[in-house]
């Protein structure tokens, strides 16, 4: 049994040493919505009310410090996430924000969502991009839940849950 533990530990070290790098992780996903870009953008840019289409959020609280705006998302599964608005560009239809701190296993997470025209005037494409690192940035061994895979899983689940909900919300308003 002892040999098995030693072997598994050695295997873990080999695997983790191999499976990481100083690499920003990327989640980039999009959804097509049957509505005009102007309609879709009016919902996407509404930083203060994103809880309408973030199904994992039970409450949103907005704070302004000088010219900076923040939102605290209370998660349905427990925990909070503090996010800072980094810019809204109406010409490009692009909103940028970052996670300042919170109960998500990511570090330095910067995100942007864009709205572009689809195949016709009544179709839009929304693309959500997140750039982030895993929580643990030092030498292996990497603590459980702080690796690249945990960070990627967390952000994938956020975007996978949000985009269909955004589509449903906008298309049901018509």
């Amino acid at each position: 049994m002892k040999k098995l533990v030693v072997f598994l530990t050695a295997l873990f070290f080999v695997f983790t040493a191999f499976a990481h790098g100083p690499t920003p992780q990327k989640v980039q996903k999009s959804v097509k919505i049957a509505a005009s870009p102007a309609t879709v953008w009016s919902v996407v840019k509404d930083f203060d009310n994103a809880n309408k289409w973030l199904p994992f959020v039970s409450d949103i609280k907005i704070e302004t410090k000088g010219e900076e705006k923040f939102r605290t998302l209370t998660l349905k599964k427990g925990g909070k996430v503090l996010e800072k608005l980094k810019g809204i560009d109406d010409d490009l239809m692009k909103i940028k924000f970052e996670i300042v701190e919170g109960d998500v296993p990511v570090a330095d997470c910067n995100m942007y969502i864009t709205v572009t025209k689809g195949a016709n005037d009544n179709e839009s494409e929304v693309q959500w991009t997140a750039r982030f690192y895993r929580v643990y940035k030092l030498n292996p061994p990497i603590p459980e839940g702080q690796d690249d895979e945990s960070a990627l899983n967390a952000m994938n689940s956020v975007v996978d849950a949000a985009l269909p909900e955004l589509k449903k919300l906008i298309e049901s308003q018509k």
């Binding site: 790098g21 690499t23 030092l138 030498n139």
Partner: protein, 295 residues
């Protein structure tokens, strides 16, 4: 590849799909895509016929023959490589080891590891100043630049926060400071330093004539700054998350890799106007010197 004999090319490492896009900068098109080991990031040229890339996840270097754009050699490292800089006349390559706080020196003919230099935490960008015989290393998590002469640490210089990219020319070296939104200019004669402002989350820089060009990853811009007065001139609009930047002297072009858009952007250095965005592989990065001209 016979059509490329007099070409200038960009070697773009694409960390998201483990490829290198070979981009002909005369014709502005991708002429070849090479499959690499996992996590290609750094690029450097080691002689007139060979480039080397660093693969962060696979912990290898791979050598690319510039005559036929084939991978000809793989060097297993046992550490996570990041920045690279070569001294071509000495056939030497320095490679920063991100997690070990070390820089390794290799012979680029035998690929023997010659020595290692202990530096501060998270060594990232490397640059070599030929005039002063100095190796400059950014240590991201300690907010310093390590200045190395004859493979020994000569000095450490305080920089802005999170220095990542490094650049050197003439009597100056620069670190690009991701968190403090500036660059640190270091005088290599007396090691005095000062900060010059950039946009948000800057990553790397180059100098052309009297202009400093800095990529701002969170603004999707390149800041253009007057080198003499340090005054801001203009922002060039790139695509998403511009990381690294190089000068194509042959065609008088500025080349920027856009990690977010999986593209490179080409600007005219005279007019500072956008010429074209070119699609590459996923998560295009090209950290280091990535533009090569056949002579």
């Amino acid at each position: 590849m016979s059509g490329c004999q007099n070409s200038t090319v960009a070697l773009i490492t694409n960390q998201g799909d483990d490829t290198v896009s070979i981009v002909n900068l005369n014709d502005l098109e991708v002429i070849k895509t090479l499959q690499t080991d996992k996590g290609p990031l750094g690029v450097e040229f080691i002689d007139t016929n060979h480039a080397v890339i660093s693969n962060t996840k696979h912990q290898t270097l791979q050598v690319i023959n510039l005559n036929n754009f084939e991978i000809t050699n793989r060097i297993k490292l046992g550490f996570t490589p990041l920045g690279m800089v070569s001294i071509k006349k000495e056939k030497r390559l320095y490679v920063s080891s991100w997690y070990e706080n070390k820089i390794y020196l290799f012979d680029t003919q035998s690929w023997k590891q010659l020595l290692q230099i202990e530096v501060a935490k998270t060594p990232s960008g490397l640059a070599y100043n030929d005039k002063h015989g100095l190796l400059i290393c950014a240590n991201r998590d300690e907010n310093i630049a390590t200045i190395i002469k004859d493979n020994k640490i000569l000095k450490t210089i305080k920089t802005g926060e999170h220095p990542f990219g490094v650049y050197t020319r003439d009597d100056q070296a620069f670190t690009v400071n991701v968190y403090s939104n500036n660059i640190t200019q270091i005088d290599l004669n007396n090691f005095s330093s000062k900060e010059i402002n950039s946009g948000n989350h800057p990553y790397n820089m180059v100098i052309h004539k009297n202009k400093i060009f800095i990529t701002n990853t969170q603004d999707d811009t390149v800041s253009v700054v007057n080198k003499t007065t340090q005054e801001f001139i203009v922002n060039l609009k790139t695509q998403e998350v511009p990381e690294n930047i190089g000068i194509d002297e042959t065609n008088n072009q500025l080349v920027i890799t856009n990690w977010g858009s999986n593209t490179i952007s080409i600007f005219d250095l005279n007019t500072l106007k956008l010429i074209k965005h070119i699609k590459t592989g996923k998560e295009s990065r090209a950290f280091g010197n990535f533009i090569w001209s056949k002579r």
